[in-house]
């Protein structure tokens, strides 16, 4: 059964240079039928798509965009492994997408794939641009030279894709004529036999990749290194030789198969670059665009987020009203549904941010930003590409961390991931607003509103720690990898809306399915800790509440409920934990009630406000922040009679929330992006220590 099923679906790998329109073709063929998976041991996602032509089923594997099959990053390692079927099933054929305007360069990768001996076909994309530049490509001549079918497309405008579908459905793939003349016949034959490859070029690739493949076992790696050494095979020299000779041969092939025009981009693009990359106007434009994006995220994400919040609250209420009361109903309504709600609530922000980023990327503007920002980011151990995650971090660290994907240098990417949560995200805002309202007078000093100034200071603290943290990590993290910038600045094009929408959809899906699991698990644990306590104490309080509630009516009933909510939280496991950590947080100016809020708000920073409202029996879900503020202002320490929310405590709390992790969703997304628990755990511990020290110093200064 399984065998016949496998035979029925043909698997095709699609590969090409960056910016060649590979994803256009992938999206046009597969539509929404895409799946994101993992390559074992790798952080790069595996993109798969499924479609049918007539009664034939196809599976398309979208390999990362690369310029060659040389080991430089995970992208190339994955491409090499997939195309040779190392450690995974080998695809039945490969579709290599070439750039019609840059045939010479794209054929470097193209002929490398050809020499691997896999059945393949070339898709020459962006024929519209080539025509505009006066290039004409003779596909038949190219076919005769290389021995594999060649199809011309303009995938952006959906042209030529019928020919690609025909090619797939007729199974017109062919094994090309060997292109590159290899030396080292004896060595390559030995490697070929040892790894049971089909072509000598596969053996050559295995030798070149030997030191980079994390999945290759030590014995084989050693064997390859010994063999290379004894035959005088130097990987670097061989790569340079191969590149040179391939280009020479490609050039002579192309001179016979294409008539070349000017090959230069239009004036319009140059003029646009004069402004967008200008030492002054370039930055002004970038700042303007970023402001616009933020404005849009804040303005457009709020309504759907409120809606999601409302729907899940209603659903949770409906479940607890409809199902018979009991532990399971509570778990479902307060644990699971609220937990899922806490995941789904992020979708509007993630989708919007990635929608905008996809537009910036697709138009070609994004690489100009990298060009402009690289110099400013480098002293901090960051890359020009780090700017987008950091700025996104001001809305929410989660999409920001997910946007670190395209930073190819491992160390720079890791630093960006680790410091992005220090940027002041929108979840800190409710905490700041409550605490500033409590501790900073609403007065003007030299025309500046002190409360607004305090808020600005909090944002600056976040930004300063982000950069300082990155600077410190630059020296702590070790890396052999050399940082470099070698980015193509593609010509400006209109964004493809299909690509933009698919990016929004896929990023949201990744977040919900992968980070969502962790978030749901942590929120259920937190809920259990906050709802249950040891040895029947909770039941005693509940019984007392029930008895007392029967005797009161109206307003009193509301206050009584609030009081009991506070007592229940105090008696819960998390309440006990809050009391347990009191000695540790006393130097920061916090009592055990704030301790409980610190623990519950690990779910998300804004939970602090709700917990504080509950524990000081203000009543949950108080929309009116003035009520909370007034009540909190009256709180005094039980033992000393001093005010709880003094200026020192307030400031100390704000600094704590500025610097502590306090967001399980970020932890989950860091886990998902680094594919290990090491970094999120270290990050959380590190941020908590810095936050503790920062809060301690703040409290000592102001008290």
């Amino acid at each position: 059964m399984e065998v016949s099923e496998k035979k029925a679906v043909k698997s095709i790998a699609i590969i090409g240079n960056p910016n060649v329109g590979k994803s256009s073709i992938f999206n046009q063929l597969t539509g929404l039928n895409q799946k994101i998976g993992n390559y074992p041991g790798m952080t790069v996602d595996k993109m798969m798509g499924y479609f049918q032509i007539g009664n034939k089923s196809f599976e398309l594997i979208d390999l990362p965009g690369t310029y060659s099959l040389y080991p430089k990053s995970e992208d190339e390692i994955i491409a090499q492994k997939v195309l040779n079927g190392i450690g995974m099933e080998k695809p039945d054929a490969a579709l290599v997408v070439l750039d019609a305007c840059n045939l010479e360069r794209s054929l470097l990768l193209g002929t490398q794939v050809l020499d691997l001996g896999i059945p393949m076909a070339f898709v020459v994309n962006m024929k519209d641009l080539a025509e505009k530049r006066g290039l004409s490509i003779q596909t038949f001549a190219l076919y005769k030279e290389l021995g594999v079918p060649v199809v011309l497309t303009d995938a952006r405008n959906n042209q030529g894709l019928e020919a690609v579908r025909d090619l797939l459905s007729n199974d017109d793939f062919a094994v090309g004529k060997p292109f590159y003349e290899l030396g080292f016949a004896e060595l390559l034959e030995e490697v070929r036999l040892k790894f049971s490859f089909e072509t000598p070029y596969q053996a050559f690739q295995q030798l070149v990749f030997a030191g980079y493949d994390p999945m290759l076992d030590q014995e084989r790696k050693q064997w390859l290194e010994d063999k290379a050494r004894s035959h005088g095979f130097d990987s670097q020299v061989q790569q340079a030789r191969e590149t040179n000779q391939r280009f020479e041969k490609i050039k002579s092939t192309l001179s016979r198969t294409q008539s070349s025009g000017s090959g230069k981009p239009k004036k319009f693009h140059a003029t646009l670059d004069k402004v967008l990359m200008h030492p002054v106007w370039g930055y002004v434009t970038f700042l303007g665009i970023m402001l616009l994006i933020f404005q849009a995220i804040f303005a457009w994400a709020e309504a759907p987020m409120d809606l999601i919040d409302g729907v899940f609250a209603a659903l949770s209420g409906w479940v607890s009203d409809t199902l018979p009361p009991g532990v399971l109903t509570d778990l479902l309504s307060e644990g699971i549904i609220t937990g899922i709600g806490g995941v789904v609530i992020f979708i509007p922000q993630i989708a919007l941010l990635f929608g905008f980023l996809a537009v910036l990327e697709d138009t070609g503007y994004f690489s100009r930003v990298v060009f402009l920002m690289d110099r400013l980011m480098r002293p901090f151990g960051l890359h020009g590409k780090s700017i987008v995650p950091l700025i996104s971090g001001m809305a929410c660290a989660i999409p920001g961390i997910m946007a670190t994907r395209n930073i190819s240098n491992t160390k720079e990417r890791l630093i960006t991931i680790l410091v992005t949560p220090w940027m002041s995200c929108s979840a800190r805002l409710p905490v700041y607003i409550i605490l500033i309202g409590l501790t900073v007078p609403d007065e003007a000093w030299m025309g500046i509103n002190l409360q607004a100034f305090a808020l600005l200071v909090m944002y600056l603290i976040g930004a300063a720690f982000t950069l300082l943290g990155a600077f410190a990590l630059k020296f702590v993290l070790k890396s052999q990898e050399k940082s470099f910038l070698m980015t193509e600045l593609p010509i400006y094009r209109m964004p493809r809306w299909q690509t933009v929408l698919l990016t929004m959809f896929n990023k949201s899906k990744i977040f919900v399915l992968e980070a969502g699991k962790v978030i749901l698990a942590i929120s259920i644990v937190l809920w259990v800790l906050a709802s249950y306590g040891p040895s029947g104490e909770m039941e005693a309080i509940e019984a007392e509440e029930k008895a007392m509630l029967e005797n009161v009516v109206g307003e009193q009933k509301f206050e009584l409920t609030n009081e009991f909510a506070s007592r229940k939280l105090e008696a819960s496991y998390i309440g006990i934990l809050g009391k347990a950590i009191e000695p540790a947080i006393r130097p920061l100016g916090y009592d055990w009630k704030i301790g409980i809020a610190l623990l519950t708000s690990f779910a998300a920073r804004e939970v602090f406000v709700a917990t504080v409202a509950t524990i000081y029996s203000v009543g949950e879900n108080v929309e009116d922040e003035l009520t909370i503020r007034e009540k909190l202002d009256k709180q005094v320490h039980a033992d000393t009679g001093e005010k709880v929310f003094t200026r020192a405590t307030g400031f100390s709390l704000m600094v704590f929330y500025a610097l502590a992790m306090q967001c399980m969703s970020t932890v989950a997304v860091v886990y998902r992006e680094t594919k290990s628990w090491k970094w999120p755990v270290l990050q959380t511990i590190g941020m908590t220590i810095v936050a503790y020290l920062g809060a301690l110093i703040t409290y000592q200064i102001w008290s």
Binding site: Y67, S68, Y70, K72, C101, N102, E104, R105, L108, L109, R133, Q236, Q239, A240, T243, N244, F247, G263, K264, P265, A270, D273, K274, M277, P279, S367, V370, F371, L372, D374, R375, L376, G384, K482, F484, L485, M486, T487, E488, L489, P490
Partner: protein
């Protein structure tokens, strides 16, 4: 001279690339001996430089641009 010394918007020819681990990476992006090259933009404070090489624009840091040898100077 290397590509760091180019005058803006003048066309030069690439003579070669200095030996470095980045050499192959440059070659595969089309930075090859014999190709025409011109400088389009420089980012401020000695930031990256943008070159037009055979119809494609490539952004390089100064360290990388310094690896490109220019003919005739």
């Amino acid at each position: 001279m290397t590509a760091t010394g180019l005058k803006i918007n003048q066309t030069y020819e690439i003579e070669g690339i200095s030996a470095s681990p980045l050499m192959v990476r440059m070659m595969e992006m089309g930075v090859m001996p014999g190709k025409s090259i011109s400088l389009l933009q420089k980012a401020p404070f000695k930031g990256p430089m943008a070159f037009l090489i055979e119809g494609n624009i490539l952004a390089l840091r100064i360290e990388e641009a310094d690896l490109i040898q220019i003919k005739g100077s």
